[in-house]
């Protein structure tokens, strides 16, 4: 018991010089990104390399990617809590924090993308003289509502299991954080009644958040699926986006688990068994995603409808072939070649690296979903090409740095492993290796 407290509170109680150096470096990159955004708003959205017919580029791709990354927490934590998988205990908090932070980053990209970001509030249904409403028939409104719902729900979902831990921190940690913990722990004293209320609340919100998770990336998929653009207009987009999101999200969890375990010496909690389980999950998502990809390409290729075939040809053998096949290697071949081997799955560094490849591949995949179909509109006179500008790339790197920075700060504020759930596991006596 006491060793759990000691091990898991340690990251909150001290910080090394390397930690501060990391904060400074990340902060500098974030500042660069913020500067690039300021420049873009000040001079014009033309600082991107977008032009007709490619009106959406890497900002929207990044939005999809980060909403996808947010599926890490919900999927891992929600589904495992639902299925009462005991091995979830040290994983859930790490994953839920990722969800929370990725959603914040994803939302930022909506603002990076807007042509007149200073008029963003037109998207809100606020009372106004002209009695104008936003257009609820627009998939973008569905999207805004879905992401807002998901952000709210996942914040509650992150917060609820934090309450007992906040109460513990209130007792154990002094200084400027103490009053915050006092407020956040909502007067938790650990009575039988409080535990029952918490467990009921978790039982209610867990299935709900899994459903919200499925709906949110379905709706992001429908942004494209309901359009007329060749090779976007497809029924497969919603399930495909959800599975793709889980694929990259679980990969991200593998990275997070590895890094935190390494830095904070959590080997006693995050064991090779966890990487084994994550590896198995990744094999499943790889196969399902590959199946959906194959189904989509086969139907387009067999029908040979020219406006769709232009896109598929460009991907398989045309100008997008290099990123396409690189992506296929990253998200299909590498996971299948490695993670199907039981010995490999028990090698944390290996699983982490596969997670890195999956996420690089999935980012490219998001760009490839977006750009090639827009490049080949039905009137060939208007065909175009696109590669992101330095402003776009700086903003993307800056937001990645912001995500890591927020995570690094969060680690000093909440225990990365749910302390009470670890202890509960000890009581249940079913946790392996203790």
């Amino acid at each position: 018991m006491s060793s759990i407290n000691r091990d898991l509170l340690a990251p909150l109680q001290s910080a090394t010089p390397a930690y501060f150096l990391l904060l400074i470096v990340l902060g500098a990159i974030v500042a660069l990104g913020a500067g690039a955004w300021y420049y873009q708003v000040d001079t014009g959205i033309g600082q991107t390399n977008l032009h007709p017919p490619i009106f959406w580029g890497v900002y929207i791709a990044s939005f999809i990617f980060w909403v996808g990354a947010s599926h890490s927490g919900t999927f891992i934590s929600g589904v495992l809590r639902l299925s009462k998988a005991e091995w979830r205990r040290p994983v859930t908090r790490i994953a839920e924090l990722m969800t929370f932070i990725s959603l914040m980053i994803a939302t930022l990209f909506v603002f990076f993308h807007l042509g007149r970001v200073w008029r963003w509030y037109y998207l809100m249904p606020y009372p106004n003289q002209r009695e104008l409403w936003p257009n609820f028939r627009s998939p973008l409104m569905w999207d805004a509502i879905a992401v807002f719902t998901y952000a709210t729900a996942s914040t509650i979902y992150l917060y609820l299991p934090l309450i007992p831990d906040f109460a513990l921190l209130r007792e154990r940690i002094g200084g400027w954080r103490k009053p915050l913990y006092r407020v956040l722990s909502l007067g938790w004293t650990g009575t039988q009644n409080q535990w029952q209320v918490l467990e009921t609340a978790l039982r209610i919100i867990t299935p709900l958040i899994v459903m919200v998770m499925v709906s949110v990336h379905s709706i992001v998929g429908w942004d494209f699926g309901v359009s007329l653009v060749p090779a976007w207009h497809s029924t497969i987009f919603a399930p495909y986006f959800v599975v793709g999101a889980v694929h990259s999200g679980v990969g991200l969890v593998a990275i997070g688990l590895y890094v935190l375990r390494k830095i904070y010496r959590l080997e006693r909690y995050i064991e090779s068994e966890h990487f084994d389980k994550i590896g198995k999950l990744l094999v499943v998502t790889t196969l399902v995603l590959a199946y959906l990809y194959f189904a989509e390409l086969l139907t387009i290729w067999y029908a040979k409808s020219p406006d769709h075939m232009w896109v598929v040809d460009a991907l398989l053998i045309g100008p997008f072939a290099v990123p396409f096949w690189f992506m296929a290697i990253c998200i299909y071949f590498i996971p299948l070649a490695t993670l199907t081997n039981p010995a490999f799955r028990r090698w944390p560094l290996g699983v982490m690296l596969v997670g890195v490849f999956i996420n690089i591949g999935m980012y490219i995949e998001r760009v490839l979903i977006l750009v090639p179909p827009l490049t080949y509109p039905r009137l060939p006179f208007n065909w175009g090409s696109y590669f992101p500008s330095w402003v776009e790339m700086t903003i993307i790197v800056g937001s990645l740095a912001l995500a890591v920075l927020l995570y690094a700060l969060a680690v000093k504020f909440v225990p990365v492993i749910s302390i009470w759930e670890e202890k509960e596991g000890l009581v249940h006596g079913t946790r392996h290796g203790t």
Partner: protein
């Protein structure tokens, strides 16, 4: 009620005779002058960002040396079922009662979904604030808004001329006559390849031409019901 019903509603449409188009691009220039379309330099044009509300698409037919150039003027098709309209989250793209597909510049926030969803790539975006080298700023049309950075724009069928024509007719206490209202491109076309008018008037030139056997719509299979009827090239 009875009084307002007397005024017959209009349905503005255009006919483009591909047999008559020579690809001279006079319509493009006229449109620029009429509608305060920004002047894009060489750099912007090479980036694919030159804004044209009407463009002449060139297609080549046959193998060298027997190559023939085909010209096709393409502008906003003012679709009856316009794909750009439902996707706009703020109602900046909407349908007027007279069948125009209108763009409300003040309302547009630049999400650019409409641009993606237009099968004709008719929509153009202001990537930067517009700029006219002196003395070109002296020739701006006072009846047309200058569009700022970050919003969509496209052909309006010269809505300012439609409005002026209707006001003139009302002042003179008569209905709008066929030929009263002419968009800049139609006015300029030296071969009269472009014809504009009211489709609700069965005797208007545009209605007569659109009933021809040569008539077709661009990307008809998309079901957008465009207000622009093309006449097939036979020569």
């Amino acid at each position: 009620m009875a009084d307002t019903n007397k005024t017959k509603s209009h349905k503005w449409e255009m006919v483009i005779d591909l047999d008559r188009c020579t690809g001279c691009e006079a319509c493009v220039v006229a449109c620029h002058a009429e509608n305060n379309i920004r002047i894009s330099g060489e750099d912007e044009a090479s980036e694919g960002r030159a804004i044209n509300w009407i463009r002449i698409e060139r297609y080549w037919e046959g193998e060298y040396p027997n190559v023939q150039t085909r010209f096709m003027p393409v502008l906003c098709q003012h679709c009856d079922d316009a794909p750009c309209e439902p996707v706009c989250p703020v109602y900046a793209s909407y349908h007027t009662p007279e069948g125009l597909n209108a763009q409300v510049y003040n309302r547009c926030i630049g999400v650019r979904y409409c641009g993606n969803n237009c099968p004709y790539t008719a929509r153009q975006f202001n990537w930067f604030d517009p700029h006219w080298d002196p003395p070109l700023e002296e020739q701006l049309n006072p009846d047309v808004t200058v569009r700022q950075n970050g919003i969509m724009e496209k052909c309006t069928f010269c809505v300012q001329r439609i409005r002026a024509g209707k006001e003139q007719a009302e002042k003179e206490g008569r209905p709008v006559r066929d030929g009263d209202i002419i968009p800049a491109c139609v006015q300029t076309c030296p071969t009269s390849a472009l014809v504009f008018g009211d489709r609700h008037d069965p005797e208007s030139r545009v209605s007569q031409l659109a009933r021809q056997d040569r008539a077709f719509h661009l990307l008809e299979s998309q079901g957008t019901h465009p207000a622009i009827t093309y006449l097939k090239r036979i020569a």
